[in-house]
Amino acid sequence: MDWITVLLYFVLVIIGWMNIYAAVYNEQHYIITDISQKYGKQLIWIITAFLLAFIILIIDESFYTAFAYVIYVIFLVAIILVPFLGREVKGSRSWFRFGEFGIQPAEFMKFAANLALAKFLSNQETKIADYKNTFITLLLIGVPMVIIKGLQDETGLAIVFVAFVFTLYREGLSVNYLLLGFLAIILFILALLINNLYLFIFIGVLCALALLFVRRNRKNLFIIAAIGVIACSMVKGTSYVYDKMEPHQKVRIDVLLGRGEVDLKKEGYNVNQAKIAIGSGGFLGKGYLQGTQTKYDFVPEQDTDFIFCTVGEEWGFIGSSVVIILQLTLILRLIYMAERQRSPFSRIYGYGVASILFFHLMINVGMTIGLAPVIGIPLPFLSYGGSSLWSFTILLFIFLKLDSHRLQILR
């Protein structure tokens, strides 16, 4: 057992619990274990998460490799069925409800997909560079994404699957794909910020410059021309995609890029309030339970997606840096552990865990400080919610289990 990881996990969970208490603190229910309040409920989630972790650790490690695909299919079926069987909660159809508690199967799709991906890529015959294999890999990741976005309309839960890019990169995905993706993102942003005509001219000039520096043979000419045409069509495509987006998504992108006038009472409200809460924390913070912006509901979703605001407001720069450093330490520790695995399955799975955690951290913290678009995804281990805590716990402890058997035979 890697006790460092367990300790980091434990510390983050406790920090989360304390901040949920502060975020929704209610003087009439000041007992932290009061289960009529969210902090009381979170305690139940934490205890059950520990139980889950324990169960995961006692199950034989071969179970996870053997049943990777089965688990994947089970959860795939679950997320397909939820919209039809589950109850609608706040306009969302991604929940199974049990009395006061709810479960969001899509959360568990993360570890299921991670298992399946690890299983598929660890097959010695599988070379990721093969177009066929690349296609299957994309299918494994893409299908849950499409279902979650398409059937449940949970953008946040769907977009997380992008995190597997890091795993794929580590396992040999051509850099060209990543560069292409990167280029696409840059072009997407530029296309929204700069007049398209200038952008076309700019691309043309770049292509012309490139021609000056490479050998002018037919092949290079063709490649540069192709890149130029692709780039231009991407720019054009961006406008098309943007136009097709839903208004609230457009607005979120506008807010992030600072496009046009942002109404701080409407579309800009969340990010502005989050920044005010964090910014007003100062260097040392206002002190535990002394936050006004989060406690008094100025910040929306202050116990779930915007829990980082409570950290920033009450613990200041010191507290928020500590949380980021703790999270990063955990993630880097996981990469270190992944790299020490003999079994590719364990390594790939470990990278998946690290990637998913990092992606959550980046988007979640990024949106509260105005560096990432507002996408509703939780901060690992800190945000209120059973599904996400369970999901991250399962994700993490399966890897811990695999890691504890790393010295055994190759799988």
Partner: protein, 623 residues
């Protein structure tokens, strides 16, 4: 494979890089940029003002002049209004629906906002408040804030005490202590002693949630400040004398100022017509103010005692006598002829019939215009000075050392300077070197361009009573019960005139005493109290002469000096004299021995009845 495992460094690098960017960003918004802290405070704190109780004002005998009464402002926080029964509320407040809509609009629009509390209905009386309070729970979003309003047990000294108004934008920009709508002294003592009277506002910081509900006090009140009540003032005013003087002055246009010579304390200061100070308090203030403002006949808002400039007239002859004696161009036995006027200039300025020639005492007693024209000419043509200019400059210097043509520096809010014409002025009017004593001869009898406020007039009498010095006249003698407050230090400095020889004053005082014993004020004796006086008229280019009377009593160790001027009332001895006499008797004896005189003065109406009187007179002639 080796190549691929190197990719871990790139991945870790990216993770750490983004982590560093985030921490740097956090450092920027949390430590460097202060704007979020301000935003947070504006959002989550509500600053509740605790208004300080304004200091009371007492008279010199600790009788109350001004106190406070509770009033209640109905406040509104538009965002919290729920299920409002508009008709019900309108009935309760006694307002129309239109007015309700107007008020609501005002509360919602800038500079107010739905999230900001503002005054909905000002200054409800305790009675209105009582009936409202019981039903207020039915109107969420409305609440009551208590304020204090000034109250005056006696309807006196309105101009001196001054009134209170609301701070406007200009005030708040000049002094950030005030917020729009705060009360502050606009005139009178309320203004000059504003900082003392107002005390210090307190501030309670309450935390509010996103729906503007109060969530308790911030840091258990660590940063709250208590309101510090304003200090009470002890005025120099004698409430009874002031009240009596106002009674005597009713229905007359003019002013009386009474000063205690030995201290410079103003015992009474009356402007007439005046108004009930209670009129400028509370919700009816604006209406009443407009009403007083539009009274052009009486002009009751005009503070004549410090803001009106009159020719000093006969009073100035006393100063002329002093200057003459001081410059050795006059002796008490100097006699000058009078031919119903000043002979060298063909009987101008004119004079009234009296024996001639007379000595100084006689001239003071009869207020002879011719005599003092001679004196003025001899002062200005004095051979010891090289030319007219030097002599005139000397004359002006001495006159101004009697606090003429300059503000007295009192603590009354607004004061006029008055005027003693300068050389420059006459050069401009007549041309350089083309004027001499005879050109400006009427200065000698306190006419021409000379201007003096009733306060300066009374101060002049004080100087004569003191024989050459005065304390700056003032209206407040103790702050918070402390007579030695540093704010009052300037009233403890003795000012000397340029004439300090008491013997010179004795000649003039003798003349004033004779005016009472056997002169123009002979009918106004006070039994047992010999006093000094000078009656007079001040010519008025706009109409009938002003009735002027200056006096101090008793002759030895004067306790009260009075200067009084009644507009368009003719001879000093008919109106001004009797009122001064009654005031002196009242102040020194506490009772009146001339009820007939008192009755005549109180009933005399010089403002409203001239037309009627004329008719009566005409009728009498016909019979």
């Amino acid at each position: 494979m080796n190549l691929l495992s190197d990719r871990k460094y790139i991945i870790m690098g990216v993770f750490v890089f983004i982590g560093v960017i985030y921490i740097a960003r956090l450092f920027y918004i949390q430590v460097i940029d202060d704007s979020y802290k301000l935003d947070a405070r504006n959002q989550a704190f509500r600053y509740n003002t605790e208004f300080a109780v304004r200091g009371y004002i007492y008279d010199r005998n600790n009788k109350l002049l001004v106190y406070n009464e509770a009033a209640y402002d109905l406040m509104v926080l538009p965002k919290e209004i729920k299920n409002l029964d508009t008709n019900d509320l309108c009935d309760l407040l006694g307002i129309t629906k239109e007015s309700f809509i107007r008020k609501m609009k005002k509360a919602v629009q800038a500079p107010n906002s739905p999230r900001k509390q503002s005054i909905f209905e000002k200054q409800l009386s305790p009675k209105e408040y009582a009936s409202l309070q019981e039903r207020l729970y039915r109107f969420p979003g409305f609440f009551v804030q208590s304020r204090t309003l000034r109250k005056y047990p006696k309807k006196i000294a309105a101009h001196t005490l001054g009134y209170i108004g609301e701070a406007d934008k200009k005030t708040t920009e000049k002094d950030p202590y005030y917020k729009e709508g705060d009360y502050l002294g606009i005139s009178g003592i309320e203004r000059t002693y504003e900082k003392v009277l107002r005390g210090r506002k307190g501030m309670r910081i309450m935390m509010v949630d996103v729906n503007n509900r109060e969530k308790g006090s911030y840091m258990n009140g660590l940063y709250d400040t208590m309101a510090i009540p304003g200090k009470p003032l002890t005025s120099t005013i004698d409430r009874d004398l002031q009240e009596y003087a106002e009674l005597l002055m009713q229905n007359k246009r003019g002013s009386v100022v009474a000063i205690e010579p030995s201290t410079g304390e103003i015992l009474a200061i009356v402007t007439s017509p005046t108004y009930d100070p209670n009129l400028l308090v509370g919700r009816a203030r604006n209406k009443n103010f407009a009403m007083l403002y539009s009274d052009t006949l009486g002009n009751p808002l005009f503070n004549r005692s410090t803001m009106a400039s009159y020719p000093p007239g006969s009073t100035f002859k006393l100063i002329m006598a002093l200057i003459g004696l001081h410059e050795h161009v006059l002796t008490p036995s100097t006699r000058y002829p009078c031919a119903r006027g000043y002979p060298p200039l063909g009987g101008r300025p004119k004079c009234h019939p009296h024996p001639s020639p007379m000595d100084l005492e006689g001239a003071i007693g009869t207020s002879c215009n011719s005599y003092f024209s001679y004196v003025f000419k001899s002062v200005i043509d004095d051979k010891t000075y090289d030319d007219t200019y030097k002599a005139y400059a000397n004359w002006r210097d001495i006159a101004m050392s009697f606090c003429l043509g300059t503000k007295t520096g009192s603590d009354l809010a607004n004061e006029l300077r008055g005027n003693v014409p300068s050389i420059k002025y006459y050069d401009k009017v007549f041309g350089k070197g083309s004027w001499k004593a005879s050109t400006v001869i009427s200065l000698g009898i306190g006419q021409a361009e000379m201007g003096i406020t009733p306060l300066q007039n009374a101060n002049l009498v004080t100087i004569i009573a003191n024989k050459g010095w005065y304390y700056t006249p003032h209206i407040v003698k103790a702050i918070g019960g402390n007579p030695n407050d540093t704010l009052l230090d300037r009233f403890k400095v003795k000012h000397y005139t340029k004439i300090t020889d008491t013997a010179i004053y004795n000649h003039v005082i003798q003349g004033m005493a004779r005016a009472v014993e056997s002169g123009t004020a002979g009918a106004l004796k006070i039994e047992g109290i010999p006093y000094c006086a000078k009656t007079g008229t001040a010519q008025n280019p706009h109409g009938k002469d002003h009735s002027v009377f200056v006096s101090f009593a008793p002759k030895q160790n004067p306790k009260i000096a009075i200067g009084i001027l009644i507009e368009n009332a003719g001879f000093g001895s008919t109106w001004a004299g009797p009122i001064a006499r009654l005031m002196m008797e009242k102040y020194l004896k506490g009772k009146i021995t001339r009820p007939d005189l008192e009755k005549r003065m109180i009933e005399g109406d010089l403002i409203h009845k001239p037309v009627a009187e004329k008719k009566v007179e005409k009728a009498k002639k016909r019979h």
